[in-house]
């Protein structure tokens, strides 16, 4: 391929170099306007058709969104989510071929406080986005990230879905919906216009809350941990908004390139067990709110072409990694690695994407999962069962060996160390507190709700990669109250369960 004196005799007979002056691949009539994938020229109209068709096909193939359902679109202002918004808008318009059948709403999370934007800059961004959202006619919500400080602790619980939405029920639901429509007729968007009036006022966030948020973010010492923490908080806020406003689905605008980068980043962060949920089409970890990614088949290039050619409005918002160096964080490093590799080997992103499609989440025990078997932050099943020979066990052994006194003569004392040993060594200072709480027997009404759990206590509630993030945080106190409250509740419950473990018949929570 890249050898010095390449013999092109074979190749030149078959392969034409793609260029714009060729005819479109599909209609073969008009001249091509773009070259997508690995050299397929498309004219303007065929490209538009291809783009729209892909969106519909993605929704139709995975029969997850039921007709009449309320779907929340998470728009960050970036090209991918704005493109998604425009697709939904087009799909719902009256003259669309086979209209989309759900009821959309828009949410924008204003992260300016965490990133360090000034109040004027934030106001400006919000105003620009408001114009974009108003033009669509859908109800929209603008939520500042500072609201995480006021979330209830029920956010990080899995709520079983209200109705059974299986794939087989999909066909029946669609038929039912189309029959109903014939009787009632199409309803107008009068509901949307009412809500518009409410959203025009956007009060400024109090300075104290912004400061608290910034302290929280800066308590994570590395950029990797900060980014991870921010993603977690954003996800919780999105789910909370969806739950309170009555939406059962959340649409994110992650495209193929970003998902390939996310897959590699997740592997580097130790999230191998949660890969399918992080990068798959539907993410069921929250139970009642299902997170879908309809843009996952589009490459970043296709989205950029479409936005440019059909004037999709976007608004630039800086994030934590804007203008940072390549090695500032693992996420940034992976991004530059994948984009560079893609330049040399054009099939890299699609290969990684196809690998992500072949993965699944292993279901330990029941499908809804024990409440206490889920990570406190990312809500995925815990992967910290210390098996006999695993990487996790090796790290525990290393920690222990580097720390304790090493009796070289009597080295046979070391049997297989289990995590209890390492945990109790660090927990000796907090064991007094544990005794206090135990004396209150019932567990639910704890003696001092304002007490923050020690870092070692929180660790047992987290999955492997969230533990790494916690390790980089200087103090636990800065965490939003809802996380700390939920942590305490889970610890109390697990202590209760330990007490009555002998008498429980089955494992359901």
């Amino acid at each position: 391929m890249c050898q010095v004196e390449e013999d092109y005799n074979d190749a030149l007979e078959h392969q034409n170099v793609p260029c714009i002056s060729k005819k479109c691949l599909k209609c073969k009539e008009l001249t091509a306007a773009v070259v997508i994938r690995a050299g397929d020229p498309y004219c303007r109209d065929c490209f538009k058709e291809y783009f729209i068709h892909k969106f519909r096909a993605m929704l139709g193939k995975n029969r997850v969104i039921f007709p009449g359902e309320k779907v929340l679109l998470a728009v960050s202002g970036g090209p991918s989510s704005c493109s998604m918004l425009s697709q939904v808008q087009q799909g719902l318009s009256q003259n669309a071929h086979k209209k989309l059948r759900f009821v959309p709403g828009i949410v924008f999370i204003d992260e300016g406080g965490a990133v360090g934007q000034s109040v004027e800059e934030r106001r400006k961004t919000v105003a620009e986005l408001q114009t974009v959202f108003k033009a669509t006619g859908f109800p929209f919500h603008i939520v500042p990230l500072e609201q995480v400080l006021a979330l209830p602790s029920e956010v990080i619980t899995t709520v079983p879905p209200s109705s059974q939405r299986t794939a087989s029920a999909y066909k029946a639901a669609v038929d039912k919906f189309t029959n109903e429509l014939k009787f009632i007729g199409e309803s107008s968007n009068s509901r949307a216009t009412e809500q518009e009036e409410k959203e025009t006022l956007f009060p400024d966030v109090p300075e104290s809350e912004t400061q608290l948020l910034q302290q929280l973010i800066t308590s994570a010492k590395t950029l990797t941990a900060r980014q991870d923490l921010l993603n977690t908080l954003r996800q919780h806020l999105l789910v909370h908004t969806a739950r309170t406003e009555g939406y059962s689905k959340l649409m994110l605008g992650d495209h193929c390139t970003r998902l390939a980068i996310k897959l590699l980043t997740s592997i580097s962060l130790g999230r191998g067990a949660q890969l399918a949920q992080d990068t798959g089409f539907a993410d069921l970890r929250f139970g009642d709110v299902i997170i879908v990614k309809p843009m996952r088949d589009y490459s970043a290039k296709e989205i950029a072409y479409y936005n440019h050619m059909f004037s999709v409005p976007t608004v630039f918002t800086p994030n934590l990694e804007t203008k940072t160096t390549e090695k500032a964080s693992i996420q940034r490093l992976t991004e530059s690695f994948v984009t560079k590799l893609q330049a040399d080997f054009p099939s890299t992103v699609s290969t990684i994407y196809r690998t992500s499609e072949k993965l699944q989440t292993v279901a330990k025990g029941s499908s809804t999962g024990h409440q206490c078997d889920r990570c406190l932050l990312c809500m995925c099943s815990l992967d910290t069962d210390v098996e006999k020979a695993s990487a996790f066990k090796a790290t525990l052994i290393s920690e222990q060996l580097s720390r304790t006194k090493s009796p070289r003569a009597s080295s046979t004392n070391i049997q297989s160390p289990n995590p209890e040993m390492a945990a109790t060594a660090g927990q000796c200072c907090s064991s007094e507190e544990a005794k206090d709480c135990d004396s209150v027997a019932s567990g639910e009404g704890c003696c001092s709700p304002a007490k923050t759990p020690e870092a070692t206590d929180l660790k047992s509630l987290l999955c492997y990669s969230c533990r790494l993030t916690m390790k980089d945080m200087s103090s636990m106190e800065r965490l939003p109250p809802y996380i700390l409250l939920e942590a305490q509740r889970r610890q109390r419950r697990s202590r209760m369960r330990e007490e009555i473990a002998d008498f429980l018949l089955d494992e359901c929570d």
């Binding site: 590699l264 090695k327 699944q360 020979a389 090796a394």
Partner: protein, 343 residues
Amino acid sequence: MPVLCSSCLDKRAVLKRPKTGHSLCKDCFFWAFEEEVHQTILTAELFKHGETVGIAASGGKDSTVLAHVMKLLNERYDYGLTLMLLSVDEGITGYRDDSLETVKRNQQQYELPLKIVSYEELYGWTMDAIVKQVGLKNNCTFCGVFRRQALDRGAIMLKVDKICTGHNADDVAETVLMNVLRGDIARLRRCTAISTASEGDGVVPRCKPLKYAYEKEIVLYAYFKKLDYFSTECIYSPNAYRGYARTFLKDLESVRPSSIIDVIHSGENLSVREDVKMPMQGTCSRCGYISSQSLCKSCVLLEGLNRGLPKLGIGKHHRLHDKILSQQPLTESEERKLKAVNF
């Protein structure tokens, strides 16, 4: 003010462990390193008492440290193993002949029996001759496939029960990343296993006792113990695809040192969907070695080399297997595609 060792709190610390960041003195580090390998062997139940184990020795740092540690632990904890050294000569001038001298020195230092098998005697081709035919890209495929079989054949000649290789944590992590980049889902599932399955004749199970040891720690160990090893890279390796995964992993390690173990943890915990097609294990119809196709990879590669069609083993060629088996000549267009370029 000198930093004290965090383990014995007695002597001055002379190094900082890349794995955990603790500062340790020389003896505590040796002890921690050896103890970790011992724990790996115990918890994964790698060996049984009384087995004969062949140590795959290349003369490089991993296999030298492996030989040293295996001998030490065998005596200290009484594993009851009989150890032997097994080495493969690929025929790369300026690289392999130098490292083989190191292996011979190791044999004398550790007093272990040594057997060297070479590509020349097993296949009739040295790596230098192969590279002349194939070019500077895709030659790692030939070397890797041939070496695997060579190790197995050597092990059978030595009559060992198990082979242990010096793959370290960095190698396993690189393999996980490379398999994700290449989309090889079958290998992705298997590559983090610490030992291979032991079915089939002609196949000796192999294991990686150093699987959780960082490469940097292996070098530190060899340096402080003043072990003798050969430290040059293979002259053909710069163009390998693995190099990309390796650079990425090194960068990851510089951002967060625990990344290497994190990648291995991810690889161990990921699970593949059940409806994904996996290759079935069978035997090669020509040489009887294990294979998932009708012809094993080394037979295909050898056939290609012998016929002057070096690209035969690279890329997809399942349809040609029957033709090769029945010794039919290939059509002209097929021949043209498989021929190498002339330099």
